[in-house]
Amino acid sequence: MNLWENLKMALSSIFANKLRSLLTMIGIIIGICAVITITTLGTTLRSTITTTLNSLGSNLMSASATPRSESYYDSADIEWTYDDQIPYSMVEELMEKHPEIRVADENPVGGGYLKNSLDKQVNINLVGAYNGTLDQNGSRILAGRNISMQDVSDKKYTCIVSSIFVRQYFKNNEDPIGQTIKITNNDNGLAYEFTIVGVFNYNSLINGMLGNEENATTPIYIPNSIAREFQQQYGEERAFYWVLSYDPKTDGKAAKKIVREFFDAKYAANKNFKVAIYSNQDTMKIIDVVINVITVFVAVIASISLIVGGVGVMNIMLVSVTERTREIGIRKALGAKKSTIKLQFVTEAMIMCLIGGLIGLALGLFNGFLAGVIANLIVSNIPTAKQVLGTITMVPSPLAIVISIIFSMLTGVFFGYYPASKAAKMNPIDALRYD
C-alpha cells in the first residue's frame, strides 16, 4: 500500500461526503484563518514599525561620556569637566579610521534669514552635512543631487535646500538648481556664496516645523567640512553626547563594537568617565521582541479553536468508522492489515485537516490583504501618517504559514488516531456482518 494510493483513497472518501467534510473542516478553517490573520498583522506591524524607524535612522548610535560608576550616589560627587567631554577631533579620528561611521546630528553652525529678490525674509539654519544626513532625517532628494563625499573632502561651496525653502525664496517655477545663495557670517562680516546642487523634501513630521510653511525655518545643508571651519572660530567643539550613524550596509553589531572599542581605548586613562554606546538597534530589538511575544500569544489563543476543530474531526471520524464498519470488514477480508486500516483513516483525518488548513490559510491571507487595503485607505487620508508610513505592505509570516499547516496536519493525525485504531481493531467477522 503506497502513500499515493492512500492519499487517493482518503480524497475520494472526503469528496464522497462534500458537505459533511466541509462542515467538519470549519473548526480547522477558522483556527488556521485566525492564526494566519493574526501573524500576518503581527509581522506587518513589525515590518512597518521597522521601516518607519529605519527611515528615522535605525543605523544610529549614541556615544555618551558617562560616569564609570553605575550608582547615582557615587556619581553625584563626580565633577563633570570640560576635559571629560568628547572632543570633535576624537570623533573625527574615529571617522577617518572607520569611514562607515559618521556624525549624525549636526548642530546648526548658524541661523538667520536670507532675503530674496523681492526683499522677503526667509528663515534658515545652516547645517553641516555629508551625503548620509538626509537619510537620517527621513528626507530624500527631489531634484538635483545630494551633497557628495567629494564636496566634503574638497570643501566645495555647495548646498542643498528644502522644497519649502524653494517655495519661500524663489519666484514661481524658477529652477533653483545651479543658483547661488549668499550667506554672510555676521561675526566677521565675511560672505560666502553657495551653489544649490539639490532640493530635498523637508519631513516636518520628523524634523518639526515652527509656524506655517510661509515662514518656517528649514535647514540648508552645506558640506560638513565647511561647517566645521565655521564652527572652529569658536574653539574646538566638545560634547558629552554625540550621535553617530553607520553605513546601513554594515552590520550594526560590528559598528557598535568598533565605536565601543575606539572610545574604550581613548577613555582608558579617565578614572571617572567612560563612553557608553547605545544603538537604535537595541530599541528595535526590544520592539521586535514585544511584538513577537504579543503575536505568538494571540496566535496561541487563536489556535485553541484548532483543538475544537480537531475534536469535530474526531467526532466525524468516529461516525465515519461506524458507518463504514462493513467496508472495514471487507477490506480486512481482502487482506488489509491492521496497520493498513489505521493508516487509511489517519490519512483521511490528516488530509481533511490539511485541506481545512489550506482553506484557512487562503482566508487568513485574504484577511491580511483586506486589512492592508483598509489600513492603507486610512493612512492615505491622514497626510502626516502617509508621509511617515508611505504604503503599508502586508507581510505574511512564512514561518507561521509553515507551522500552521504542519500543525493542522498534526491535529488530523492526533484526533484521527483514536477513530483509526478503533477501525483497525474491528473483528472482521463482526464487521462483515454489520448492517
Binding site: 475520494s12 464522497a16 467496508e327 471487507i330 480486512k332 477480508a333 481482502l334 487482506g335 462483515l432
Partner: protein, 262 residues
C-alpha cells in the same frame, strides 16, 4: 492424487470462554480438502457452517485443534500473518457481494492486489483480465450501485481471483440473486473449477446448489455428519450421500452427465 490443501484436525471453537453462557460451536471438526476440489459445505442456520467458513477463510482462529492451509499452521498465526493469508490464499465471495461502494468495478478488483503491494500497471492489467474472465470488462468503470446483483457478484468473483488464491471461499454466493442469475454465477464457478482448476469451497444451505458440486460436507450442531468425499475421490455417482432423496437424485443425474461427458 492431488495435493492436500486444507488439513483440519479436531477443530473446536468456543465463545464466551469461562463465562456461564459458554458456547461450543464446533465440536472437533476433521476435514481434508485437496487441490482442485469443488466442495459444498451445507447445513442449517446455526449448524456452525459459517463459523467453519470463517475458520477456513482465516478470519477466525480455532480455540483448539490445528488447521494447516498450504502447509501453514493457520491456528498459530498472528493478526498480521492472518491478513496475509486472507490476501494471498483466500478469495472471498459473499452473499451480499460486499463491494466497496465508492470504488468502481476495476478498483474493487484491484484492491486485494493493492494490499499485496502490486504495482499499479500490473494491478490494472490483471484486474481487466479478470473482469474479462467474468465478462464484465465493458463495465469496469461502473460503481457497484450502477450494477445489477448478478453483475456485482461477477465483479466480486473477479476480485476473489485477484491474487490467484489457493481457495475460493463462496458464502451463499447466489443467496441474493434470482435463480437465473444464480445459475449464471454458478456457471462461472464451474468454469473456474473446470478450466482454471480452482479449488472452490461453497457454503450454502441449499441442497440444489450443493448437488452441483463434487463433494458435499454436511454440518449439523457443530459436527460433520456426512462427507461424500470421504468415500470417493472423484464422483462417479454411486457413493453420493445426501440429505434428501431429491438431492440424491439431482446429484446422480449430475454425476451421470459428467460421466457421459468424460
Amino acid at each position: 492424487m492431488a495435493r492436500k490443501l486444507i488439513t483440519m484436525r479436531n477443530i473446536i471453537k468456543r465463545y464466551y470462554i469461562g463465562q456461564p453462557n459458554e458456547l461450543q460451536i464446533l465440536n472437533g471438526i476433521d476435514l481434508d480438502i485437496h487441490e482442485g476440489e469443488f466442495v459444498a459445505i451445507v447445513g442449517a442456520s446455526g449448524s456452525g457452517k459459517s463459523t467453519l467458513m470463517n475458520m477456513i477463510g482465516a478470519l477466525d482462529k480455532p480455540t483448539e485443534g490445528s488447521y494447516f492451509l498450504n502447509d501453514t499452521d493457520v491456528s498459530r498465526l498472528n493478526d498480521k500473518q492472518l491478513s496475509e493469508i486472507r490476501n494471498k490464499e483466500i478469495g472471498f465471495v459473499f452473499q451480499t457481494f460486499n463491494l466497496i461502494p465508492r470504488a468502481n468495478a476495476l478498483k474493487n478488483v484491484e484492491l486485494p492486489m493493492l494490499y499485496a503491494g502490486m504495482k499499479k500497471r500490473e494491478r490494472q492489467e490483471r484486474a481487466l483480465e479478470l473482469l474479462k474472465l467474468v465478462d464484465m470488462q465493458d463495465r469496469y468503470t461502473h460503481k457497484p450501485n450502477e450494477l445489477s446483483g448478478g453483475q456485482k457478484q461477477r465483479v466480486a468473483i473477479a476480485r476473489a481471483m485477484a491474487n490467484d488464491p489457493s481457495i475460493i471461499l463462496a458464502d451463499e454466493p447466489t443467496g441474493a440473486l434470482d435463480s437465473k442469475t444464480g445459475h449464471m454465477v454458478m456457471d462461472i464457478f464451474h468454469r473456474l473449477h473446470d478450466e482454471e482448476g480452482k479449488t472452490i469451497v461453497l457454503i450454502t444451505h441449499s441442497p440444489e446448489l450443493a448437488a452441483e458440486t463434487e463433494r458435499i460436507i454436511t454440518i449439523s450442531d457443530g459436527s460433520i455428519i456426512s462427507d461424500t468425499g470421504k468415500k470417493k475421490e472423484k464422483v462417479s455417482g454411486e457413493f453420493i450421500v445426501s440429505t434428501s432423496e431429491h438431492d440424491l437424485k439431482d446429484a446422480l443425474i449430475k454425476a451421470e452427465s459428467e460421466v457421459k461427458e468424460d
